[in-house]
């Protein structure tokens, strides 16, 4: 098995001289759920279109499952399931007929897979109802079912929870997590709904104005978003000692710049300040830090700086 499901190197896409994706280099490891975050026009859909072959890169390379080159990529795309922008639906057909059409198109002989994927996305009971009479949420579910038809190893979903009701959102979230855990599927998912993405993804790719701003794991993101006191002192050893002996906490982290992040006593800044002062620790900074995912995202893309 390839070490990376997807690897892009200096991937650039321009339209009439204007670059919409600039030198994107990233690697996606197997069995992870990657949340692709970016504003409208950031380049999320363009990146997905390039991966799936709907567009061609202006420069740079794409490698899928360790293979690159047009012919090989085409072959490797058979291991991908995708839903980009809108689901691929024939509106005059029922859910089952749509699934059958795509099953035949992909040369999948197993007919049982039709009921299986419809059941997975909760559309098993739609009977003779045509896709044109489906709600937006049902169309999204059907699109996801089509993407899952070939039991892909790499699933690419562009705004899959658009139009879904709250229960539908939870169901799709649970489905994606299940697919990732049970089938070791790699999922690249874009969404504007950051709190939702936060509950689904294991890794985050932040793009802004065509540039890759950050690729970080859930743990790294949590670390950056977690509320804490940022304490700076000229005597970090003494500071840590006081925290442990007087405030009885080990819930802190010493950063490379010798500042200390304290995750306890967040509601009692006065106590922390007083105890440190009483024990002779000279502090140069004691501030409340931490962000919501939204605030962190905004700070990364160049809004209010992240402290």
């Amino acid at each position: 098995m390839a070490e990376h499901v997807l690897r892009t190197t200096n991937l650039t896409k321009s339209y009439r001289g204007a670059a919409v994706l600039k030198q994107i280099s990233l690697s996606l490891a197997p069995g992870r759920i990657y949340g692709l975050i970016g504003q409208n026009g950031a380049g999320k859909t363009t990146l997905m279109r390039l991966i799936t072959g709907l567009s061609f890169p202006s420069s740079g390379t794409i490698e899928l499952f360790g293979h690159q080159g047009e012919k090989d990529l085409q072959l490797e795309r058979k291991r991908i399931g995708s839903m980009i922008e809108y689901p691929s639906l024939t509106l005059s057909m029922t859910a089952q007929e749509n699934i059958r059409l795509h099953r035949i198109m992909r040369g999948i002989p197993n007919k049982e897979i039709e009921d299986e994927v419809l059941k997975l996305v909760g559309l098993a009971g739609t009977g003779k109802k045509k896709a044109k009479n489906f709600s937006l949420g049902m169309k999204q579910r059907l699109g996801i079912a089509i993407a899952l038809l070939s039991s892909p190893e790499f699933l690419i979903l562009d705004e899959p929870i658009n139009g879904l009701d709250p229960v539908g959102v939870i169901e799709i979230r649970n489905l994606l997590k299940k697919l990732c855990e049970e089938r070791h599927m790699t999922i690249l998912i874009s969404s504007h709904n950051l709190p939702e993405l936060y509950q689904t993804a294991t890794d985050y790719i932040i793009v802004h104005q065509g540039e890759l701003k950050q690729l970080l794991t859930q743990e790294q993101l949590e670390e950056r978003c977690k509320h804490h006191f940022l304490i700076r002192s000229n005597e970090p050893e003494k500071l840590v000692s006081v925290l442990e002996t007087q405030l009885h906490t080990t819930n802190y982290k010493v950063m490379p710049d010798q500042s200390v992040k304290l995750y306890d006593y967040l509601d009692d800044k006065e106590k922390v300040s007083r105890v440190l002062y009483d024990h002779g620790v000279v502090i140069t900074n004691l501030s409340n830090e931490g962000d919501t995912l939204e605030n962190y995202f905004i700070s990364v893309i160049g809004g209010e700086p992240h402290a």
Binding site: R77, E97, H102
Partner: protein, 265 residues
């Protein structure tokens, strides 16, 4: 590519517009034959030949052929079926080739009522006429009906039917690159209808210019390819078949060169 063809045939079977097109050509073929039967008997005003011609194969196919391309090709852009095919690893060449095969088959399907009507008419032994306006199957019907046919002539008629069918398919095959490029059904139908009228006018120009006739007869729109009858020589029939096949292949190449590196939006 076989998967794509099978999927397209499945879609065709489920498609209401295709059934409507088939119904239109069936009704048109019957009206055309009935009018061509009643006009020589004086039961219908001979001035209505223009109306009869409206229902003839050449006229109906010049509209419905483009509609078929719009339904089959533009429809797949609308439903994002092409997107899914590319994203799941089908090559653009196989998409074009598969689509062309199904397009040719579907044109053959909507021509079938005319082919069957022509066969029946030739078997009746009655006289049929649509005045001076007759092209394609209507021309064959009005020229050959009422004659006793030998076995050899029947074989020749079968080969002429095959040739005319292929000429029609070749004529409308220009809709394939149009549909892959324009993606809008209205544009494809309108442009092809205008194009077919232009080709009819150019056909007249070829009567007055030999060199133009020579060039024009290298396309399925020129020559006398839609005027084949029992009087036509075998060489003419083979030429019609060859030029039609080459033209379809040329359209395939043009489509591939246009679609090969195009963005699928």
């Amino acid at each position: 590519m076989l998967n794509l063809i099978q999927a397209d045939l499945y879609k065709l079977r489920k498609s209401a517009p295709i059934k409507v097109l088939l119904a239109i050509t069936t009704i048109s073929a019957i009206i055309m034959a009935v009018m061509a039967y009643l006009i020589p008997q004086g039961k219908i005003d001979p001035n209505l030949t223009g109306l009869g011609f409206m229902f003839s194969d050449v006229n109906v196919i010049s509209i419905l052929g483009a509609v078929m391309a719009a339904v089959l090709i533009c429809g797949d852009f609308d439903s994002r079926t092409f997107h899914d095919a590319v994203a799941s690893g089908s090559s653009r060449a196989s998409i074009i080739l598969g689509k062309t095969v199904v397009f040719c088959f579907s044109i053959l399907c909507i021509l079938l009522p005319y082919i069957i009507t022509t066969g029946i008419v030739l078997g009746t032994g009655f006289k049929f006429s649509m005045g001076s306006v007759a092209v394609g199957f209507l021309n064959m019907m009005t020229t050959e009906a009422g004659k006793a046919l030998t076995a050899a002539e029947m074989w020749k008629i079968a080969s002429i039917i095959l040739s005319i069918t292929l000429v029609y398919i070749a004529q409308v095959s220009i809709c394939i690159p149009l549909a892959f490029t324009l993606k809008k059904p209205v544009l494809v139908v309108a442009i092809y209808y205008g194009f077919s009228i232009l080709m009819a006018q150019l056909g007249r120009l070829s009567e007055s210019s030999k060199w133009f006739d020579r060039i024009f007869s290298c396309t399925p729109y020129g020559g006398n390819y839609t005027f084949l009858t029992l009087a036509s020589e075998t060489g003419e029939i083979i030429k019609a078949l060859t030029i039609s096949l080459i033209f379809i292949i040329l359209m395939l190449i043009v489509t591939y060169s246009l679609f090969r590196k195009s963005e699928i939006k």
